[in-house]
Structures are given as structure tokens and as C-alpha cells.
């Protein structure tokens, strides 16, 4: 153990009914390093961090910060000890402003009552009285000074944030920066980031990495939870790997290969190369012309999309998130109305038809948000597995359902698609499955009905390497079986590995078309950000420059 060790977690044991989430896990983090915590979904990374943040109390084991043993009964204790955490699901209240979210719990009194106020009309003797301070902290609220401090912090780290904006007005990347500001505002020494890039686009992730490096330059230590090996390579100094609640080992990133890490994580060898056989393209399964649609705020999100997908073809759609991908997927799946244009599936014009018509026409859909739209969290695996096909005659004569058949069908899906964590298909709730397994279940439901067109929006986002491998292979098998597939992904590698044709979407229009063989990554990157157009779109979206480095200090 070196002198630079700031955090030591020793023999942490955390059990939940029926599961050992952390089985005597050790972790040590050095000052100023970015320490990766790597593992598949359900390996116990988040649990370990929730113990460290005082949200869970461990059943056994000790935590030491700078040599002192910590007894964390609540997040407040962790905050007081100088630990901050950015959760995977943002802990922000959309209806409140940035400043209100950041100062929550800090009890910032009205400006006049601040003990550090310079020109308060209240005499210092009154302001410094502990009773007055306590009352002012409870019954008043001053945001002027905190807002200035938050703004200063934001400027210091190059965050473009309007502190008086409401959270719902910000995009996901900005919201994450608010999360980081929440921790910085509390002067943390150790910052935990739980899968911070899960919701970010590659560009936003780059910006995050820059910010994190600046934070470690200032002496902060960072624990970076991830299951993406590329991220470990990109910014992590040392990495600890967890598998099934145990720690497999800690390593210097520079001394291990990506394949080694993957094997530590999964417990077996992982294939990164995918074989993609040639498949003859058949008839078009989808022909969409001049499709226009609006987003949830009634702003036009698709401005005239033409898209044809043929049998056995994977069309990859690349783009920075928020350029109409979500709307595109939903329009093609029939769950969002078009404002103009037509959607023809298997030769039938079903523009404006009900989602059910799309389903019956052979369209399957894997939505981006699997918890909210992909499943009914509180229903069983069986209900979820049969949700699209229960009307089929093999499940009984209407109005009655043959539960035995439904059950058998669900069990078949669970087995064939290797969905783990299901003890009984009628008992286990879909919402209790881990991300990767839930995604496999959804994919199973959508694919087992043998669709003609499959729309997969971010099918591998937030799932672990093992599941990613499985999902990609499944998509390729389906392609071989003659299904036309629209693949929307922010992972360019995925688009390149799987697609027959690549389309780049920017501001609701396709701006570039290519094939993986001919494609030039740089060109695609430019097109994704609107920089490839000759008509001067560079001016409307300049690269995020003008960020002042800390050179003036």
C-alpha cells in the first residue's frame, strides 16, 4: 500500500435476500487517479458504490478514507467525509433550477444572513449567532451567492451551464454536468461516477473525459464505474474488475490488454470480431417517402426522410443523439404519427395506421428506453414475452388465454435467448432483470415472431460485453433469415460492424449515405455534426471552442 492511498474498502459484504451482491470486496484508490470499476451488469459495482455513499450499509467490512475509518449511516455522512456521487440515473429534479438542485440540502440562508456576506444590513454579531444561523438556514433561502459560486465552478471547468435554467430545459450532457457541479459545490475529494457515459453521445463523452482529467489535475480522485473497455483505455489509470460480486483483481491499465480485461470481466474469452456473411438482398420491406414528424414538444424532428430497407439488409443510422433518431424509429414502428409523407410496409401503405396494424404487418421494434417503453416493469417475464403475440390462436380461443401455452412460449424464449435471472417466468418481474437480460428478453419477443422489419434503437446501449456480443450475433442471424433491419446506434463501431448501408442523420434529414467498406470515419463524424455540408452549416454549429483553459491562474 502506498502513501498516496486515499480510499480503502476492505472485505465489504452486502447481502440482499437470496443474493450476495458484494462478497468481501476490496478496493483501494490513490489520490489524483481515475480508478476504473469494471464489471458486467449485476456484478455488484453499483452496490459497492452505494455502500461507499452511505445509501446501503454493509453487512461486514470497513471503509477508510485518508486513514480514518468511516461509519456511513446516510449520504449526508458521505458528503461530510468529502465523497460525491454522480448516479447512473440522474438525481435531478426537472422542475427546479440548476442552482436549486445544486444547493439542495446545503441550507444556504438569505444573503443578508450569510456569515460571509460583506455588506449585509445585519450586524455580524447577530448573523454569527448560531440560533439565528439555524433559523435563517431553515426559513430563508438565498440563491444569489450560491449561483455565483456555481457559475464560477462551471467556468473553471468549462461547463456551459445557465445556473438559473430549469433542469428540464437542459440536454442530457448538460444535466450530467449539473450532477458533477453538485459534487464540486460540496468540495468533494473523491467523486464516484456510475456509468456516466451510458446516456452520453461520443462527443459528449469526450467532453466529460476532458473535464475529469481537469478534476484529477486539481487533486480529486475519481472512481469511474463502467462496463465499456474502450473507456477504460481512454481515461482510466488503474482498474478493479468485479465479477458476480467478487473482485477478480486490480491492474494498471497500461499493463493489461483489452482482451485480458474482457476475460476477467466475463470469465471466458470474448470475441470482438464478428463474421458477417454476404446475404442477397430481397424485396423492399419498407419504403418511406418524404416522412415528416414532430417531437414531443411539437417541434419538427423529421424533415422529409426517404428510407428503403430490403429483405436481409441492415441499414445503420448514425447520428448525434437528438437529431431525429427516436422519432424516426417511432414513426417506422407506427407509434408516432407522421405529419407528411408515407410509410409502406411489404407493399401496403399503412401511413397513419394504428401501432397494431404495424405489428400485424410484421414490424418489430426494440425501443431505446427498455424500461419505459420496452417492457411493463411490474408484469412477469411471461406477460412481457407474449405481449405482442398473445392474440395468436395458438394461445387459446378468445376471449380466453391458454396460460400453459403462454408459459411454454415464454420459457422457450428465455432458454433460447439465454435470459438469466429468471427463476419462474410467471413470477419474476421484467423490471427485476438486469439491463442486458431485459434487453435479451425484449429482443427475443421481437425476433421470435419472425418479423419482416426490425427496428432496433440503441439495442446494446448500457448492456455488458457478453450481452452485446449475443445481441449483435442475433441481429446478424436475423438478417440472414431475411429480415430487413434498421439499426440506430450512437456506437459507430457497431454501425460499421453490422450494417450493409450507413445513413447519417442530422437535424431530421439524411445528409450522407455510404457503406462500411467505402466509409470514411472522419467524413461520417463531420456529417453527424453538420460539418460536412458545403452550404455553410459550420457557422450555425461551431465546435465547442472558446473554452478557456486554466491559463490565467
Amino acid at each position: 500500500m502506498s502513501e498516496d492511498t486515499t480510499l480503502r474498502m476492505e472485505g465489504i459484504l452486502k447481502e440482499f435476500p437470496g443474493v450476495v451482491a458484494n462478497d468481501h470486496v476490496n478496493l483501494s484508490v490513490e489520490r489524483g487517479e481515475i480508478h476504473g470499476l469494471l464489471g458486467e451488469n449485476g456484478a455488484g459495482k453499483s452496490t459497492l458504490m452505494k455502500v461507499l455513499y452511505g445509501l446501503y450499509s454493509q453487512d461486514d467490512g470497513d471503509i477508510y478514507l485518508d486513514g480514518e475509518r468511516l461509519d456511513l449511516g446516510s449520504p449526508q455522512d458521505a458528503i461530510d467525509a468529502g465523497i460525491g456521487m454522480v448516479h447512473q440515473h440522474f438525481m435531478l429534479i426537472p422542475r427546479l433550477t440548476v442552482a436549486e438542485n445544486v444547493v439542495l440540502g446545503e441550507r444556504e440562508p438569505a444573503t443578508a444572513f450569510r456569515s460571509d456576506a460583506e455588506d449585509s444590513w445585519l450586524p455580524a454579531a447577530i448573523r454569527n449567532n448560531s440560533l439565528v444561523q439555524s433559523l435563517a438556514g431553515q426559513f430563508s433561502l438565498g440563491l444569489d451567492v450560491p449561483e455565483q459560486r456555481i457559475q464560477d465552478l462551471a467556468d473553471q471547468y468549462g461547463f456551459d451551464i445557465d445556473v438559473s435554467a430549469k433542469i428540464w430545459e437542459l440536454d442530457v450532457g448538460q444535466q450530467q454536468r449539473v450532477e458533477i457541479l453538485k459534487a464540486l459545490y460540496r468540495d468533494v475529494d473523491l467523486l464516484i461516477l456510475d456509468e456516466p457515459t451510458a446516456v452520453l453521445t461520443p462527443t459528449e463523452a469526450e467532453r466529460l473525459f476532458d473535464s475529469l482529467e481537469r478534476l484529477t489535475d486539481e487533486g480529486l480522485s475519481i472512481i469511474f464505474i463502467t462496463h465499456k473497455l474502450t473507456e477504460v483505455d481512454a481515461i482510466v489509470d488503474r482498474v478493479t474488475v468485479l465479477r458476480e460480486g467478487r473482485n477478480v483483481g486490480t491492474a494498471e491499465v497500461s499493463s493489461v490488454s483489452r482482451a485480458d480485461l474482457a476475460e476477467m470481466m466475463v470469465g471466458r474469452e470474448v470475441l470482438f470480431e464478428i463474421d458477417r456473411d454476404a446475404v442477397d438482398l430481397g424485396e423492399p420491406v419498407l419504403r418511406a417517402r418524404g416522412v415528416r414528424a414532430t417531437d414531443n414538444r411539437d417541434i419538427e424532428a423529421l424533415s422529409g426522410i426517404d428510407l428503403t430497407v430490403r429483405q436481409g439488409e441492415i441499414v445503420g443510422i448514425a447520428g448525434v443523439s437528438g437529431n431525429g433518431q427516436k422519432e424516426l424509429a417511432e414513426v417506422m414502428a407506427g407509434i408516432r404519427d407522421v405529419t407528411a409523407g408515407e410509410v409502406v410496409v411489404n407493399g401496403d401503405d399503412i401511413t397513419g395506421a394504428k401501432p397494431r396494424t404495424f405489428v400485424d404487418s410484421g414490424v418489430s421494434f426494440v425501443p431505446e428506453d427498455r424500461l419505459q417503453y420496452g417492457c411493463a416493469e411490474d408484469l412477469s417475464v411471461m406477460h412481457n414475452a407474449t405481449m405482442k403475440d398473445f392474440r395468436d390462436s395458438r394461445f387459446g380461443d378468445r376471449p380466453f388465454l391458454n396460460y400453459g401455452e403462454l408459459r411454454d412460449y415464454a420459457e422457450t424464449l428465455v432458454e433460447e435467448f439465454d435470459v438469466r435471472g429468471v427463476s419462474d417466468v410467471t413470477e419474476t418481474k421484467a423490471g427485476d432483470l438486469s439491463g442486458g437480460n431485459l434487453q435479451k428478453l425484449i429482443l427475443a419477443r421481437e425476433i421470435y415472431r419472425d418479423p419482416d422489419l426490425l427496428i432496433a434503437n440503441q439495442p446494446t446501449r448500457g448492456v455488458d460485453v457478453g450481452a452485446i456480443e449475443f445481441i449483435r450475433e442475433t441481429l446478424l442471424e436475423q438478417r440472414k433469415a431475411g429480415t430487413g433491419i434498421i439499426l440506430l446506434s450512437e456506437d459507430l463501431d457497431e454501425i460499421f460492424d453490422l450494417s450493409d448501408r450507413i445513413l447519417v442523420v442530422y437535424e431530421g434529414e439524411f445528409v450522407y449515405e455510404t457503406t462500411p467498406a467505402e466509409a470514411d470515419r472522419e467524413r461520417i463524424g463531420l456529417e453527424m455534426t453538420g460539418g460536412g455540408d458545403d452550404e455553410g452549416q459550420m457557422e450555425t454549429s461551431p465546435p465547442p471552442s472558446g473554452v478557456t483553459q486554466g491559463s490565467e491562474s
Binding site: Q76, H87, Q138, F139
Partner: protein, 330 residues
């Protein structure tokens, strides 16, 4: 006619105070994420407790205080069931309303005959004596009971508390996303208890105002559904204190009209065109029982309007309403 309108306005103010007090309590409780459907029961307990205390001691202020206290006692049961035991808020609330109704009917039967010296009508301090002379509205606004003025003052306090104090901000956070609040070191448990207790105190105050100032007598079941209207009022006000002022007076006016509906004649003369069609409709709409539904209809309209006009993520309902919270459940 002038005296009729003046009388109507006076009754409006009186009725609005009941709704305003109960509604403010409900608003605070709901902003912290706890629905309190026990308002009606808490009001009845406050009304009877306040009444008995006033009969026995002769002090209506002491009665008012006891009313508040009893409302809080019932709210404590609600808080314990919903926050500590995490039971269903709707079931607990309805149960408390039934409990409050039953208890007050039983214990209150002997007090129906009693009379009290309740809150007197006073002119508003300092400026009231000059303003009371304003035609039509003067009497209604500036000669009222102390509790009417108190309710208005408390509305300002509640608005300031929720939107301009740390405790208020924390309370809103707890009602929006308890997990988030917890990670920020805010005690979800403590703030929800506080909110529910304040809510119960307000409900008790509303009940005490009803028996000590509004009708100055005790009748079993005298709240007559006003607790439920207070719940509707919170929705009508879209969980905002300032809109609650408008809503309380609107609902108060409807209440005052309902009581007076027999003495109002809006029917057309027999010679007017379509009189035979319109008159039965007007008469139907003016029956007290039908008028009693107007606050609910207005709430439904406001709710429908709010849903249509705004997207669901901006709807004013606290995001974590009805959700209990415990740390280690996910």
C-alpha cells in the same frame, strides 16, 4: 339586490376561509409527496374539539388551538401509517375520514344543543374602519372574523415557506424525487412527517373555523364534504399557493350560492321565448344538490385544460405523490 350581493360576498369570504385553510394543509402535504384524504375527518375532529373546548373554557382562541392540535393528532396516525409503515396513502386517508366522522358523531351527540360565543366579526385593524364603508364589498372584506384574516396571512406564509425557504425547497424535493433528496442529505422521513403534521394542523384549523366562526354551533357531519372540496381545490390550484387563493374564493362563492339557491330566481318570465325549455334547465342547474357538484366539475375542467395545454412532464402534480420511500429497495 345590493344587500343580497353584499350578503353573498360575506358568505363567500366565510366559506372560502374553510377551503383555504384545509386546502393549504393539503397542498403542503401533497407537495411533500403524501396525499391526505383524511382532511374531512381531521376537520370534523378539529371542529368538535374546538367547539367543546370553547363551551367548557369560553375561549374561542383556546378552542381554535385545540382544533389544530387534534387535526395534527389524526395526521400523526396518517404519517405513521404512510411514511413509517409505507402503507397505501389512499386507504389510510379514507380510513381516517371514516374514523373522524364516526368519532365525532359519537362523542359530539351531546354537544349539539350547546351554544358558544365564537369568533366575533371585527373590522380589519387600522384601515378597516375607513374601508368598511365601501359599497357592497366593504362589509364582506373588512368586517370578518379574525380567522378569515389569519387564513389570508397564512397563505402568504405558506407561499413564502414553500418557494423561498430551504425547508420548503427540501419539502418540494422530497415530493418530487425522494431518492434524489436522500442523496443530497435531506431527511425524507423527517420532512414528510413535518409536512403531514402541518397539513393536519391546517385541516384542524379549518374545522375549528367552521364550528367557531362560520356557523358557531356543532352539528355532526357539519363539514358536509368540504374536506373533499379542499382536495379538489389543490388540484384546481395545480399545487400552487397563489392559484389556491383564486380557487378558494371561487369555490367559496359557489358554496355561498348553493346555500342561497332557493332565494335566487333566474327563471325567465312565462312570455319570454323558449321559456318552457330554458326554465326547467335553469331550475335543474340551480338545485342545491347539483350546485354542490360545481367545484368538482370546475376541478375536472382545470385538470383537463392543464393536461391538454402542458406536456405531461410539466404537469404540476408532485412527481412522487403517493410513493413511499425506503433506501434499500431497488
Amino acid at each position: 339586490m345590493v344587500s343580497f350581493i353584499a350578503g353573498l360576498l360575506d358568505a363567500t369570504v366565510q366559506a372560502a376561509t374553510v377551503l383555504l385553510l384545509a386546502g393549504m394543509g393539503e397542498l403542503i402535504s401533497e407537495r411533500a409527496g403524501v396525499l391526505n384524504l383524511g382532511v374531512e375527518g381531521m376537520m370534523l375532529v378539529g371542529a368538535l374539539g374546538g367547539f367543546i373546548t370553547t363551551v367548557v373554557t369560553g375561549s374561542h382562541w383556546l378552542g381554535f388551538g385545540v382544533g389544530i392540535l387534534l387535526g395534527m393528532v389524526l395526521a400523526l396516525v396518517h404519517a405513521f401509517l404512510c411514511i413509517t409503515l409505507k402503507s397505501n396513502q389512499v386507504i389510510s386517508g379514507v380510513m381516517l375520514t371514516l374514523l373522524g366522522t364516526g368519532l365525532t358523531t359519537f362523542f359530539g351527540s351531546g354537544w349539539v344543543e350547546e351554544s358558544i360565543n365564537g369568533f366575533p366579526q371585527i373590522t380589519f385593524p387600522l384601515v378597516g374602519q375607513y374601508l368598511v364603508g365601501i359599497p357592497i364589498i366593504g362589509e364582506a372584506l373588512f368586517r370578518s372574523t379574525a380567522t378569515d384574516y389569519l387564513a389570508l396571512g397564512l397563505l402568504v406564509v405558506v407561499w413564502y415557506f414553500l418557494h423561498h425557504s430551504n425547508l420548503g425547497l427540501e419539502m418540494i424535493a422530497v415530493g418530487e424525487d425522494p431518492e434524489m433528496a436522500d442523496t443530497m442529505g435531506v431527511s425524507v422521513f423527517r420532512l414528510r412527517y413535518l409536512a403531514v403534521l402541518i397539513g393536519g394542523g391546517f385541516a384542524g384549523a379549518a374545522g375549528a373555523h367552521l364550528s367557531l366562526a362560520f356557523s358557531q354551533l356543532w352539528v355532526p357531519g357539519m363539514t358536509a364534504g368540504r374536506g373533499w372540496i379542499a382536495v379538489a381545490l389543490v388540484i384546481f390550484a395545480q399545487w400552487r399557493p397563489r392559484r389556491m387563493l383564486v380557487g378558494a374564493y371561487l369555490f367559496g362563492l359557489l358554496d355561498a350560492l348553493r346555500i342561497r339557491s332557493q332565494s335566487i330566481s333566474l327563471t325567465l318570465g312565462p312570455d319570454a321565448p323558449f321559456a318552457s325549455v330554458i326554465n326547467p334547465i335553469v331550475e335543474f342547474l340551480m338545485t342545491p344538490q347539483i350546485m354542490g357538484t360545481y367545484p368538482y366539475l370546475a376541478t375536472i375542467l382545470v385538470l383537463a385544460y392543464a393536461v391538454i395545454r402542458t406536456k405531461s412532464d410539466q404537469l404540476a402534480v408532485p412527481s412522487a405523490l403517493l410513493q413511499s420511500y425506503s433506501r434499500e429497495t431497488d
